[in-house]
Each structure stands twice: as structure tokens, then as C-alpha cells.
Symmetry: C2
Subunit: 388 residues, 2 copies
């Protein structure tokens, strides 16, 4: 661990079967007007909406509804939410949903009192807010993005065919998040598995960077082993509380800045996946799984030692009698077999991408420079060509 | 992970070679009067005192000195510190030192405005403060206790022969901590190794509890593997920045509440070690190492499955052809060999304990109930008898 850094994560988490009691404890700290943000209405079917509204009313809050946030939340919807929050004079934005809803809530929170073009300011110039921020709280109903304990906010601009994430500083983190694993039980299996791979990708994209010895990588390996163990159980029985609770907790720690400390981090799987999503609107985690194997096989020669370590420490590959490359390759084979067994989408064709879209997807892919190889356009085209 | 819990850790950390810049960034947030707490004066020899005082003066602070905090800080010194803080009208308590100095600073911080008998209130009745708390910041110069990012405060009452720790809530956590690995380079090797075993013990005493599958245990295994790896390098070359920085970061995460989440936790090695220290004033980490092997061999039959997992996942024991007990025992043998190699004290005789003290040490040992076996007095006597 040779890099310098700061660490601060002020989000308070309430975890477990009685986590909603935490919401009741938090509400008195905020003013009367609450913007209640949610998605397509699944929370009205599984009873979460009712419980949250009851807690808000019990606490004497005025509720301004802001439902209909879609996966890959759009800039257009963001503008609508800003207007609602302003009209309601929101003192608190309560996000009830998955990562898209939390991401959207954070984008609204930094925009309500912002006088500038928020797309340009936050998602093109990546500036920090210099206006008042409306506090955000989350009640999580889908696991994967880690948005419940970080400053990340990913917004899609359909007009510009751009899906861009801004990782805001700690003052934009949710003030509190309610994590009840049972609130995620009604998520369809496709979405659950997609979320599991989102977690996996978060950990790997931080892990596959740097050549120094770093405690963060050992923590990452622990999280990966926990995730792989619990994912298998959850795929068999999505109602297994123990497995689902471990997955939920792993998701939070996979992307709340901890395992990136002292590291450069890669993030190219997310850049490739987000470019695919900008053209197909496909489910986030599946866009990551669909490009991962081509990307990692491309990357392996540039980071062979780390891929070999991954194979041994995470996939229990026995390195005896193997070259480092053979060990590394065997690790990726085991990962691929696990992904297929889990039911992940392994190509972008299945997500609606066509060869005709290739030029556009290549063009939409942002290039990051923290991994084992800084890609150029030719590399991106090669990886995406292998992903159909 | 089947337990319910809350998580909140608001301490801001500045880590690395330029970490003292963080102190300069923090100071303007606090009032003028700073109680500067430190130990026996080693910080005046290694230049840290000078740098900290320069930063305080640059920020226009009035400094009230409170040096001379000893290892195992005493209740008598605590009373002295409270009086100094009151006289200085301290707005900030800045602890520059190791865990004892940080622990002491926290004890002062909750006592300055407390009208009650603070020993009785905080260390016998384990109450939370209901008075104003003077904020604490830390500049760490010795690694091990994790006190830089938790609410722990251990105070020794020599008159009562009691060394007792209170783990305060998040409002008592340091507001910020400065972690520059180079500030720890001048710590004598005996103290460095003692700190390393303190970290090891923190992780193990949380790990050896519970029978459910829990992400916290996977994170603990990662921290243990990192610690074991870096400890070997640091013992060879104490000036290895990479190893010392990993040890420093591992220490923080070993005891900042994270890896206890969803777990009951054990803590009997600390209770035994603290009882030994109350009678000998021996170095903290060495009191833990001296009782660990007798304790863990006693405990193994009650938690065999976890000890076997520990052997495989942390000590790379091959379980093929072994019973679970044999695997578990081989893990402890490897741990013991590593401890001896590192130079840890392996018995309490070497720490100044005599057979005549046995009754008193048994009496001073607090019994915790979160591990694989709730000890009775006979068990404690048996374990301590094996520790001479």
C-alpha cells in the first residue's frame, strides 16, 4: 500500500430484519417535506411502499411523490425530479428502490439548488456541487450498485447516447441507508443475478490494478470468496436469508471506496458495459457480464501475476506444475464456468446489440487509465467484437 | 450474516506520507484551545512533536501540554488530564502517540464536562456520556490498538487492580486521524511486534464466534493474510514502507467495528491479557500473545469447525486426509511457529507474573459471553496455569 489517500464514509447503515426502525429513528432529524423517490411501482406490490409511507406519516412528514424512475435513469427524468423537489421545497429525498433510484436521488440532491446546466456541470465537467445539497436517505430494495453508501450517480443522456457516472464526494453520500435483506426477496431472479455480477465486477475492477502489495486486495479477495459462496446458494434458493444478507453486505463494501484505497483502479468493464447500455438500455449487470470475458482475456497478458493470484486465492487453482499464465487462464475458465452456471448473459447479442451498432458503442466507450493496459480504440473494437 | 446491526464510522482518515497535511486541513474547524496529549516524550526525539506544534501554531492555536501518558494509562493520570482540559477550556484534544494516548484522550473527552465519578460511570457501569464531548483528533505514532478509528478507551485503576475498556459509541470516535506510516518507524522492534500481535488478536477474537456464514469472517481472513504477509517483512526490515503501511491500515480495520458486524465476538484473550497487565503492567500485545496458545487450545474443541476453517483459509493447511480436529490443530501449530519466529512473548512468566499472582489474576479476569465457550473460574485458572 504505497499510495496516499483520505478515507471518510459518514453514511449510517441500518441492517437486518428490523432495519426499517432505523428510518423511524432518522426521520425526526430532517424537515417536514420529503420527496419520495421510487421506480416502476414494484414497492407498491411487495408492501415496502406502504411501510415507508406509514413511517413518514407517523413522523408527520409531507410527502411529495416522485415515482417512475427507470433503470438507467435519464437526464429527462432528472429534470422532472429537480422541478418536483423545488416545488415541494424538499428537506429530505428518500430513495426507495435499487441503485438507479439511489443514483437518481443523489443527482436531484445536488441539482435542486444549482443554477447551472447540471448535465454539463456534473456529468461532462465532473465538478463537485458548490450549492446547498438536499440530504438523501435510502431504503434499498435491490442489491448490487453500492449506491447506498457512496457518492456514485450514473445518469443516461439518451439524446447524446451517453451513460455517465459521477462519483461525488462524501457530502453527497446518503446520510443513512436502510438495508433489510427481506426487502429484496421479490426482485426477479434475472435482476438478482445481474446485481450479483455488478458486485463481482465492482470488486474485480478495483482489484485488477497496481503491482504493489496492498491490504485492499486481501479484503477484496475476502469479499469475492463470500460473494461466490453466497451467490451459489441464492441462485438455488432466492429466499435464503443468510445468503441474501451476505450478498447485500458484500455489495455495500464492494463499492463504498474502501477497497480502492491506495489503488489506481481500472473500471473498463463498466465503461464498456455502460456504452452497450447507452445503445440497448440493457440491464446494467448483464452488460458487464457480457463484455467481461473478452475484456479479461485481452487484459491477462498485461497483468498476468495478478490474474494468477486471483486464480489461486479466489478460485482455489493449484499452481503446482503450471506456468503463471496457465494458472491465470485456469482462474478465468473457472470464473466463466461459474458465470454460466449462475445464468449470466455472456454476450451482447442477447442484450440487443447488433454489429451495426459497433461503431456507435466504440464511440460511446470512455477510456480510463488506471488498469494494466490503457486501451485505445482498436483495443475496444477488438474486445467488443469478441463480445457478440 | 443473520444478526441485525447498525454501522456508522464517521472518523476521517488521512493516510500516507503527506498525512500531516490532513491535520492542517482539520485544525481550522475547531476552537483556539488545544490540549496536546502525548506519552513519554519519544515524539520529541523523532521530530513528530515539532511538526505537530508547528501546524498548531500556524493555525493560531493556544497549546496546553499534557504529556507523560504511560502505556496502560491510569485513572490517576486521567484525573490530572481532566483538570488540565478544564483549566485550558479545551476545544480540541489532540492525541499524538499510540493507542494508550488515543484511549486516554477519549477518556478525557467524555469526562471534562461530566459531573459524576467518571471511573464508576464509564468503566464500571459502562454508561454513555450524557454531557458535551470535547472532540478528539489523533496523530498516530504506534500501530496496533485501532483506537484511531473507534470508541475504545482502556484505563487501568491501579488501586483496584482493574484494567477495563469501554467501547463508546460513534460520537466519541476521533473526528479525524492522521496515519503516516513513517511516524511509526522509530518504534522499538519489541513494541512493533507487540502491536502486530494486538492486531492479530483483535481480528481473531471477532472471527472466533458464531456458526453462521458471515461476510465479516471472509473480510477477517483477508486482513489476517495481509497482516501475516507484512509482519514477516517488517520483522526483517522495520523500515519497509510498504509492509508498515499495510500493517497500519490493517490495524485500523481490525478494530473499527466492521468485522464484528452480525457477530457476537469473543474477547477472552483481551480479558485474560488485561488481567495479567493489571498485575504486571506488561506491554499490551505481549500479554495477549502470552495467553493465546493456552486459550485457543482450550477453546478448540468447542469451535472445531471454525478453527479448521482458519487453518485452511489463513494458514494454508491442506485438509486432505485429516480429521477436522487434526486440521484445526495443525493451524494452531503453524500460528504458534509464526508467533515464535516473530519474537512474541509466549508465557506470562517472562512478563513478570508469578504463581503467587495467580489468584489475583484469575479474580481480575472479566468473563465475556460471545465466544464458543463461556469460561468459568476453573477454566480461567486452567488456561492461566498453562500460560506460565
Amino acid at each position: 500500500m504505497i499510495g496516499n489517500f483520505t478515507y471518510c464514509n459518514p453514511t449510517k447503515l441500518y441492517f437486518g430484519r428490523d432495519a426499517l426502525e432505523g428510518l423511524k429513528a432518522e426521520l425526526p432529524k430532517y424537515g417536514k417535506n420529503v420527496l419520495l423517490v421510487y421506480g416502476g411501482g414494484s414497492i407498491k406490490k411487495n408492501g415496502v411502499y406502504e411501510k415507508v409511507v406509514a413511517a413518514l406519516k407517523e413522523s408527520g412528514k409531507e410527502i411529495c411523490e416522485d415515482g417512475g424512475v427507470t433503470p438507467n435513469p435519464s437526464y429527462e427524468k432528472l429534470c422532472d425530479g429537480i422541478a418536483r423537489a423545488r416545488a415541494a421545497k424538499a428537506d429530505l429525498i428518500l430513495a426507495v428502490g435499487g441503485g438507479s433510484v439511489c443514483d437518481y436521488a443523489k443527482a436531484v440532491s445536488v441539482s435542486v439548488h444549482c443554477g447551472e446546466d447540471v448535465w454539463e456541470k456534473y456529468f461532462i465537467r465532473f465538478e463537485e456541487p458548490d450549492c446547498a445539497i438536499v440530504p438523501v436517505g435510502c431504503v434499498l430494495t435491490m442489491v448490487g450498485t453500492g449506491s447506498e453508501m457512496n457518492g456514485g450517480s450514473v445518469i443516461t443522456n439518451h439524446a447524446q447516447k451517453l451513460k455517465i457516472g459521477h462519483v461525488f464526494g462524501e457530502n453527497v453520500f446518503p446520510k443513512f441507508s436502510v438495508l433489510d435483506p427481506e426487502f429484496t426477496f421479490t426482485v426477479p431472479k434475472y435482476q438478482m443475478i445481474s446485481g450479483i455480477y455488478d458486485i463481482m465486477s465492482h470488486i474485480l475492477e478495483q482489484y485488477f490494478s497496481g503491482t504493489d502489495d496492498n491490504t485492499s486486495d486481501y479484503i477484496a479477495e475476502g469479499l469475492l470468496r463470500s460473494l461466490i459462496h453466497s451467490a451459489g446458494i441464492a441462485a438455488e434458493n432466492p429466499l435464503d436469508y443468510e445468503a441474501r444478507s451476505n450478498i447485500m453486505w458484500t455489495a455495500t463494501w464492494a463499492l463504498n471506496t474502501l477497497i480502492a484505497k491506495g489503488k489506481t483502479t481500472d473500471w473498463m468493464v463498466h465503461m464498456l458495459g455502460q456504452a452497450v447500455a447507452a445503445h440497448t438500455d440493457a440491464t446494467h449487470g448483464m452488460t458487464l457480464s457480457a463484455v467481461s470475458m473478452p475484456y479479461y482475456r485481452f487484459l491477462l497478458p498485461y497483468g498476468t501475476a495478478k490474474f494468477a493470484r486471483y486464480a489461486v486465492n479466489v478460485w482455489n487453482v493449484d499452481p503446482a506444475g503450471k506456468t503463471q499464465t496457465e494458472t491465470a487462464q485456469e482462474g478465468l475458465r473457472r470464473m466463466e464456468a461459474w458465470m454460466k452456471e449462475l445464468g449470466l448473459v455472456m454476450n451482447i447479442t442477447e442484450l440487443g446489440a447488433t454489429r451495426e451498432m459497433l461503431d456507435g458503442i466504440v464511440k460511446s466507450t470512455l477510456i480510463m487509465d488506471g488498469g494494466y493496459k490503457v486501451l485505445d480504440e482498436k483495443d475496444i473494437r477488438a474486445i467488443l467484437s469478441e463480445s457478440f
